[in-house]
Symmetry: C2
Subunit: 332 residues, 2 copies
Amino acid sequence: MPEIRKDPITGSWVIIATERARRPDDFVRSPVEIRGVKVCPFCHGNEDKTPPEVLAYRNGTGPDTAGWNLRVVPNKFPALRVEGLLDREGDGIYDRMNGVGAHEVIIETPDHFLTLADLAERRIEDLFWSFRDRINDLKRDKRLRYILIFKNHGEAAGASIEHTHSQLIALPVIPRRVEEELEGALRHWQFKERCVFCDVVRQELRDGSRLVLETDHFAVMAPYAPRFPFETWIVPKAHHSHFESAEAGYPNLAWVLRAVLRKLDKVLERPAYNFMLHTAPVSEGPMAHYHWHIEVIPKLARVAGFEWGTGFHINPTPPEESAQFLRDAGTF
Amino acid sequence: MPEIRKDPITGSWVIIATERARRPDDFVRSPVEIRGVKVCPFCHGNEDKTPPEVLAYRNGTGPDTAGWNLRVVPNKFPALRVEGLLDREGDGIYDRMNGVGAHEVIIETPDHFLTLADLAERRIEDLFWSFRDRINDLKRDKRLRYILIFKNHGEAAGASIEHTHSQLIALPVIPRRVEEELEGALRHWQFKERCVFCDVVRQELRDGSRLVLETDHFAVMAPYAPRFPFETWIVPKAHHSHFESAEAGYPNLAWVLRAVLRKLDKVLERPAYNFMLHTAPVSEGPMAHYHWHIEVIPKLARVAGFEWGTGFHINPTPPEESAQFLRDAGTF
């Protein structure tokens, strides 16, 4: 019998096809290949092909020159712009404002042919420090309410440049998906006076069937009501609403994220994927009811179509099975 | 300057890239081709290759034989099953229930090589009568709260069988996207004592910039804050919350839907698309605040990736432009 499960945070229902479950081999494989390009603006030596950097971790070299490990630059084709006034205005029953915000690219390595999963732990840790540094800089702009950090890996997951990078979008509004989490987490808090994410971590560590791995600082799990096959969450054990104030966990997070990406690479043959950092709005102080985390979603061919048409998620792989495949893949 | 716009119904914000807008030619074309297959279970003469029909419009022939114009059968691999008890139960902080419901396929024509846009108006009208007939039959089952009707056209939009068909999923829960619309529409009603969809239709007819076409019964428009390029809504002028009670509009709707699909075929070169019928929950009586409508979303290559990663919609084509392209395409 298929099951209908409710996400304890957002309250969304999903159908989990428990009977004819899709195993990793049932998905059409389309491994992400790095082919190389003539001129890559993100490569070592091409620093003049991007807008001037806003942050870089360098070995004593000057801005916008070679000799860096990680570099943050404004997106050359930004979805939002820092200049200008918000100008909120109505148009009859409608509401609009200017696209004020920031859109930045975090170039994770100068080497074109490495993926994030290939990087040394210390380099992945740098990524988290760069997220923190950019958040702390941007949050001084009081027009901005939310900073969205995410990664699209592979063309199928929306990456238009193959050189490994993450993206940051600073918004004057709170995205719907985050608002749903905030509202759901607040409802749980009002009812129980506990953080729903803390409850989820406790239950998953006890239960174990959806657990992928556990470290001192993190629980990695397939969520109870995943929208997508092999959806995987990295949830810190310590309660912090804001990623930028959870620095103590960054070194361990580097190991954890790399382990998750390598497991996905092994089990699903280097799939395209997205990850998204869910953190509390920068416009808010510490929240007892919200808890930052990372959601990783591999993009598996021939499965995506359904929810676009229906607005409803049907997941052909139970989280207990995806967790077992990822658990059994070992760490390396 | 890009714009940030709010959908007046759900309250979601989207970024509209007004500057470097994508025109139809900027999208990579991948026209849907009907190639034919050895044995198609939806073809005339293969009625024994599907589960027994639950509805058919026939010319006096017997069930599950040839001689039909439209045929509704249970999905051979259903996401939900009619048998069994709901068995709502908790598992610690989690909620689940059995996957009780229905999953049916509406085969729109016996001819493998026609698309919905190719059909005669009278055949498309049949589709709406079949939706009504199935809704009225299924709503007698009091376990079911929502009936989702949608179409995936083309593999890129999630269709696994190329023979043209729509799908119906009857659910014991209300999908999140519909709930968002219901809640938003109720908020508008509480504030204004008017239906937000009626307000949208009035404003769009007056404004004209996002209007694709208008008939006696319908307004077709690009919505003010579309999530996707060339997203197009078909909204009835008369207020009805439930599709199944809006029968007077079906003949006109056949002409309208065909016109919209043909315009999309012309402007975007036979794109894959989804449409979804948004109607009020079958478990509710007539609602003053909700208004049924159809959302059509072409699936345009190389644009989809973004919102998966971000949980936020960035639309590179302003609705004023997509509406103009579709308006200018004429009707035929």
